[in-house]
Amino acid sequence: MVEEAPVAAAAPILSVKDLEISYGGQKALSGVNLEILENEIFGIIGPANAGKTSFLKAINRMDIFTPGMQVRGDITFAGHNVKHLKNVYALRSAIGVVFPLPVGLPMTIYDNVALAPRLRGVKSKVDLDIIVEHCLARAALWDEVKDRLNSLGSLLSGGQQQRLTIARALSQEPILLMLDEFSIAVDPVTTMRIEDVLKELKQEMTIILVTNLVQQANRLADRTAFFLEGSCVEINDTQSLFCGGATDQRTTDYIEGRFG
């Protein structure tokens, strides 16, 4: 996967300039300028309707199928302006997405994880077997499902389905993994397991972690952005943010649970 320059750690994989998102003329997010570095976990916190999900949708061009959604400004991912791509499907294959509610597709566990490889043309059963086992193992789910790979993915428990979703995202061999409040329907134990998985994955890919749990950002993110009511209030080192170093009073208030 990412095996270019050995000192790649500080190169921005994603840069966002003057991003503005609106739905049918109604502004949902504006004035976002930021850069996300390779192999970092970039946390985004903020109350409901801050525009966090819209931000993620703009990155992988899911706006195309969202009626009324309009994106202005420039998003450059891996050197390409996503607005002018000739093949958005290729962009999306390079970005794994995990939604707030787990989505086990109504097919077998095996097929769930084999779907993305199959879409990109992997046919050999041996190769698929390897990918499926590898991805399920990395998502900390293999041991629980290895004996029932042929049962329906949609019948797993919520926490298992969320790990299945992560395994499916990994099967895309993504450069960027975006998680949108993944722990909303997941029990605390599974949440911790997934958090450990993310720490591992960071070695190989960039992660954007939108989270409803302020402490989750604190535990995982290298840097954290605070979104509020359609704007990006602050971007800061997670450590300084949580050690009283926030530059905006609203950030401090939110982190300390005084509103939202």
Binding site: M62, Y89, V97, F99
Partner: protein, 304 residues
């Protein structure tokens, strides 16, 4: 004010009686549907029973291609040709209606939005409401000369004609059901697949169709049931001649059309009359099985 909280938990008020009344009405309507179906079944069975018990040779009935009930000396009651007629027309109709309705359902359900979608849905419902005699008339007056012209055949009333007519006729209702099935697939499945980089077609073929397969299969089965039961259109478009077809240009005769055409001319209680009712029982059984299967399939009992 009107509903003071009371601790008199044994007092039955108007709402309580209203609730009981509604329950009763619903129960009676539900029961009456069942009563009608059973009543009809008993009636046709009673009318056909004499023939089944006395005259009928079951082997001959199902395997002889000769249907000559009005022969004075040696009437023949073989429905093989009629079964072949119904089956060939229904089969061809499915070849027409499955691609049509699936395509239409995908277009309406997956590609059109807002007003276009509503308009198309209304149009489909409208098409489904066209009386079958109108379709038969189209077969007789438009398709017939068209087939003669295009294929240079002597008659245009044939399996081909009736198959196309029946296919077009069943397509709207199949479209409607198939579209419901597609709509029942939650959007988050599509979103998840799209986010993975699947194209629209990949989403439809790899995710939506497999998720909707029960409903889609149910739509097809209901189309089959409709084809077997359809009378007027096939009566007009098949050419109505007893014949095991060797090509799609052969005229045939359907089970239903036979009953419709002959029942008025038979003496009540005669062998011929009873034989027609036996065909009725057969049709009843077939459509019942098909509809039941469709129903079970739609509900997804397949996992069993």
């Amino acid at each position: 004010m009107n509903h003071p909280v009371t601790t008199d938990f044994d007092r039955r008020d108007r709402d309580w009686y209203m609730d009981k009344l509604v329950q009763l009405v619903v129960f009676v309507s539900g029961i009456s549907a069942i009563v009608f179906v059973i009543g009809i079944f008993i009636f046709i069975t009673k009318e056909g029973m004499g023939f089944i018990l006395d005259t009928m040779d079951p082997v001959e009935f199902f395997t002889s291609p000769y249907w000559e009930p009005s022969d004075e000396d040696a009437p023949e009651y073989g429905i093989l040709a009629l079964i072949a007629g119904t089956a060939s027309v229904t089969g061809l109709a499915l070849l027409v209606s499955i691609p049509f309705s699936l395509g239409a359902a995908v277009f309406i359900g997956e590609f059109s939005t807002g007003k276009t979608r509503e308009f198309l849905k209304i149009l489909i419902e409208l098409l489904a409401a066209i009386p079958s005699v109108v379709w038969g008339f189209i077969g007789l007056t438009i398709m017939n000369p068209l087939i003669i012209d295009i294929f240079d055949v002597p008659v245009g009333l044939s399996v081909l004609n009736a198959g196309i007519i029946l296919g077009l006729m069943t397509a709207p209702i199949m479209t409607s059901i198939a579209e419901d099935a597609l709509k029942a697939v939650p959007d988050r499945y599509r979103e998840a697949a799209e986010a993975m980089g699947a194209t629209r077609w990949q989403v439809i073929f790899k995710v939506v169709f497999p998720a909707a397969k029960n409903g889609l299969l149910g739509a097809v089965l209901l189309g089959v049931g409709r084809g077997f039961g359809e009378t007027m259109a096939v009566l007009l478009a098949t050419g109505h001649s007893v014949n095991i077809p060797h090509s799609i240009f052969d005229p045939v005769r359907a089970l239903t059309a036979t009953i419709a055409a002959e029942l008025g001319e038979t003496a009540v209680g005669s062998d011929h009359y009873q034989a027609l009712f036996t065909i009725g029982i057969f049709l009843f059984a077939i459509t019942f099985i098909i509809n039941l299967t469709a129903d079970l399939v739609v509900r997804g009992v397949r996992n069993g």
